[in-house]
């Protein structure tokens, strides 16, 4: 099941334009609106390094928002930064994924009975695998969109996604 994260965290286009023109309150507004959304991405991909990944992501967003060509695309632009920063932060401590036999679907993020084990299950994946899992589960991105965002081939996304689902499921049912 795909759970998208549209909710109420769309950033108003006019606010972004004001932020690009150096309006301090608008910049702060962009920050406050993006923080929960980017926090979910950084937390799920970088795990224990999530706070550091989020901090570096927000700094990068503030530094470079002036160069964003389409103010309406700020969310996707920031998501790209968050995913890459999360992978970078998590890589030194990445776990070796399991090599399971089980083929199954990924548990929904809303599956209440799995609450305690989500972090443990994610811990068993590599940062690259967590990234595709998060982008599919939270964002509903296609394999082509994920490949573009991550700068890899579609085939690479497919194999990472397959391994992520399997490893996640294996950890989940233990």
């Amino acid at each position: 099941m795909v759970v998208t994260s549209s909710e109420n965290d769309e950033v108003d286009r006019r606010t972004v334009i004001r932020a690009q023109r150096g309006d301090p309150r608008a910049l702060d507004e962009v920050l406050r609106q993006l923080m929960p959304y980017l926090g979910r991405i950084c937390g799920a991909i970088a795990l224990d390094h999530g706070d550091d990944a989020l901090q570096e992501t927000l700094i990068s967003v503030m530094r470079h928002i002036g160069s964003l060509r389409d103010p309406g695309a700020v969310r996707g632009w920031a998501r790209r930064i968050a995913v890459r920063e999360s992978i970078r932060q998590a890589k030194p401590a990445q776990a070796v994924p399991t090599d399971p036999e089980v083929l199954a679907t990924t548990p929904s993020p809303g599956d209440a009975e799995a609450a305690v084990d989500v972090r443990d299950a994610l811990q068993s994946l590599s940062p690259d695998q967590r990234a595709v899992l998060v982008l599919q589960q939270f964002e509903g991105l296609s394999e082509e969109e994920m490949a573009d965002l991550l700068g890899v081939a579609v085939g690479t996304v497919k194999s990472r996604l397959s391994r992520a689902r399997e490893a996640f499921r294996t950890e989940w049912i233990q």
């Binding site: 023109r21 301090p24 309150r25 927000l58």
Partner: protein, 169 residues
């Protein structure tokens, strides 16, 4: 979206650090103040009293309008009889002050750190407007930063003194 998945957070101090990064030449400092957060923020948020006590460049800080968390303040320096206006966003652990027009901004953030307080302060020169017009003047902001770096440190030194700390950290 589920709250069951790990969620990263940076708090008010991280928010300020990111915001300051949006202004080239901003000066940022962060301290661990060995005083409970409530005590620090109670003192700070009484701004008519606190700001002149810790900021050497402010002789008077007078709040002229208050609308929930948005304040307007008239500020006078110690040497010239000129007053200028600040728009202030004040919340628990957060303060963003913007001069009119927004050529200068002052930021404070605080959050509990055990029984103590993590405190951050930043100031920046700013030129609102299109990016293409702002870029050429950014080297001047970096020059101003030389003074700002010392100034933000002196502000927090002053705050610690006002809170009864002697400076023996």
């Amino acid at each position: 979206m589920s709250e069951l998945w790990p969620q990263a957070n940076v708090g008010n101090v991280g928010r300020l650090r990111a915001l300051a990064a949006g202004f080239p030449g901003s000066a940022y400092t962060e301290r661990h103040i060995p005083v409970p957060f409530e005590q620090v923020w109670d003192y700070f948020s009484d701004m008519e009293r606190s700001v002149p006590s810790f900021d050497e460049t402010v002789a008077e800080f007078h709040i002229t309008n208050r609308d929930d968390n948005r304040l307007t303040a008239k500020v006078r320096g110690p040497f010239l009889p000129i007053r200028f206006t600040l728009d202030v966003d004040l919340d628990v652990g957060w303060c963003l002050m913007t001069a009119r027009p927004a050529y200068y901004l002052v930021m404070f953030a605080a959050e509990p750190s055990g029984d103590h307080t993590r405190f951050a302060h930043a100031e920046a020169c700013n030129l609102p407007g299109p990016t293409v017009l702002r870029r050429p003047i950014q080297p001047l902001f970096r020059l101003a930063r030389r003074w700002l770096v010392g100034h933000v440190e002196r502000d927090v030194d002053g705050l610690e003194l006002a809170l009864g700390l002697t400076g023996d950290k």
